[in-house]
Amino acid sequence: MKPLKIAVCIKQVPNTEARLRVSRDGRWLDEEDLPFVINESDEYALEEGLQLAEKTGGEVVVLSLGPERVKEALRKTLALGAARAVHLSDPAFQGGDALATGRALAAAAERGGFDLVLTGSQSDDVGYGGTGSVLAGWLGWPHVWLVMGVELEESGASVKVTREMESGVNEISRVALPAVLEIQAGINHPRYASLKGIMAAKKKEIAVQTPADLGLDAGQVGAAGSRLEIVAVSFPQSGSGAQMLEGDAKKVAATLVEKLQKEARVL
């Protein structure tokens, strides 16, 4: 089988388990002291890419768009086994919607001569779920979203792809390469970095690219190239409608059972 050259697109997102605070202008999160992680489904995309590269003697190149902090996430992917990384780093890239970010990533992917581009299915922050499909559109390659299985076919010209549908049904299809596959969390078991990997990552390249490097105008990417603008973010009314029960475990348990019996009448 021919060695596959695979691009994996990752996004660094806020750790949603952390305490989130609205920024002063009310339009996004206050990023001071906010921990960032690699987007969950992107970790699965990376693992899938590494496995496919290992099977075919190919390589994984990781692409990511974002501010300087993204280098830390890229370094982690290099420690896990990616050969090198490309950082789309420029103020003009910031604040993009799925269309603007997909376009920028496509321009970067186009230059790599890849057989396959993998992305996560959805970001855990804005969650548009469309960046990979937009990227595929710009490349003119087929794409599949919410991929739960990838099988290389003998010919090397196509892959057999399992796509998750609603209500516990999967679609199985054959997709010609090159293609874009948007990977669902749970498809595999992402590996941990080894000490050897962490050491090796220090010597691997992270190339920086600007819109000009990719042949794009600043107006085609980031906030300027987007149709969407977030004007405010907020927390939903917590417990709106819910009766919040307070006290120690024993007390809340007793109160809940009483309420379920006498008030809600479901026990």
Binding site: V233, Q243, M244
Partner: protein, 332 residues
């Protein structure tokens, strides 16, 4: 005619799906803000297309457009985009509304790229504000929400989240049905871009959670397969089935047939206890029809509390054993 609002419905078992009717309700409301009536589009092959169109024509719509083509027998993004892109380019509707489903997320972003439209996924509502529309959509897994505006010119493709625009809000037409036409589009570019080999059932439904009266569902907060003991104890005391949110399944802590949510089972028991489940929308769509919902979570900001009737902020590993005791005591 820049003020047109279209809605593209999805068929399920040959019928307009429930969430598609919700999209019709959203499109009607949206068309009202644009001073017109919405138009529906239905794609597929054979008699189901005409039957669905006749059903849609009973709603208060300006028109129903059908596209009945052999290449639309099985869904593929190539087929759907091939049918819709020329029609959208020709008519330049202001908005095209879709139900937010795994199918629409598969093709709508690429349709937006193909026709140069804006993409506004997963909206839960909109209001008219400051001379334009302000849209609401969940962010950060439903922990927060964003208000979003669209800028620039041209069509915007909008998908509406399940449950946001109730299907019973669909306005029916007066005496006469809406006219049904074939979609005015050049279908020469209509081509599947993946070869469909088949469909498979994931879990085989060994366990039918939809028939359970009481469900105790656990999420990531349970912490591991080895920490299920107190969960099983409480389920036994309650006579409940155990369910789970997606991360529990992905981590292999419980088998896939226990999954509740958009890619698992949709349940509506009389009592649903969610322990250690933050309440991502994909989970909420699978359980929000429950009669009484109890949420137990360490994070007071967890979105699960927004759909709960009773909430407890705390560690499930302390709360569940206490609940087991209390249930046993109450049942004597």
């Amino acid at each position: 005619m820049a003020s047109q609002v279209w809605v593209v419905v999805q068929l399920r078992d040959g019928q307009v799906s429930r969430i598609s009717w919700e999209a019709v309700a959203a499109a009607q409301k949206l068309a009202g803000t644009q001073g017109g009536k919405a138009e529906a589009v239905v794609l597929g092959t054979g008699a189901a297309v005409g039957a669905a169109a006749a059903d849609l024509a009973k709603a208060d719509l300006a028109a129903v457009h059908t596209c009945d083509h052999e290449a639309l027998r099985a869904y593929t993004p190539g087929g759907w985009i091939g049918a819709l892109a020329p029609a959208i380019r020709a008519a330049q509707p202001a908005f095209v509304v879709f139900p937010h489903t795994y199918q629409s997320v598969d093709f709508v972003p690429r349709l937006a790229q193909t026709v140069g439209a804006g993409l506004l996924p997963e909206v839960t509502g909109f209001t008219e504000a400051g001379g334009g529309l302000e849209w609401t959509r969940p962010i950060l897994g439903g922990k927060m929400q964003a208000k979003v505006r669209v800028k620039g010119e041209g069509t915007v493709l909008v998908s509406v989240q399940s449950g946001a625009f109730p299907a019973d809000g669909v306005v029916t037409g007066g005496g006469s049905a809406a006219p049904v036409h074939p979609l005015a589009a050049d279908l020469s570019g209509l081509k599947a871009d993946r070869e469909i080999l088949g469909y498979e059932e994931v879990a085989g439904d060994q366990i039918d959670l939809t028939k359970a009266d009481i469900i105790l569902a656990v999420g990531r907060g349970v912490g591991g397969a080895d920490k299920m003991g107190p969960v099983e104890e409480l389920a036994k005391a309650l006579g409940a089935e155990i369910g789970a949110s997606r991360p529990v399944i992905d981590n292999g802590w419980l088998p896939r047939d226990r999954q509740i949510g958009s890619s698992g089972q949709t349940v509506a028991p009389k009592l649903y206890i969610a322990a250690g489940i933050s309440g991502a929308i994909q989970h909420l769509v699978g359980m929000k029809g429950s009669t009484v919902v109890v949420a137990i979570n360490k994070d007071p900001g967890a979105p699960i509390f927004t759909v709960a009737h009773y909430g407890i902020v705390g560690d499930l590993h302390e709360i569940l054993p206490a609940l087991t005791e209390a249930v046993r005591a109450a049942k004597g």
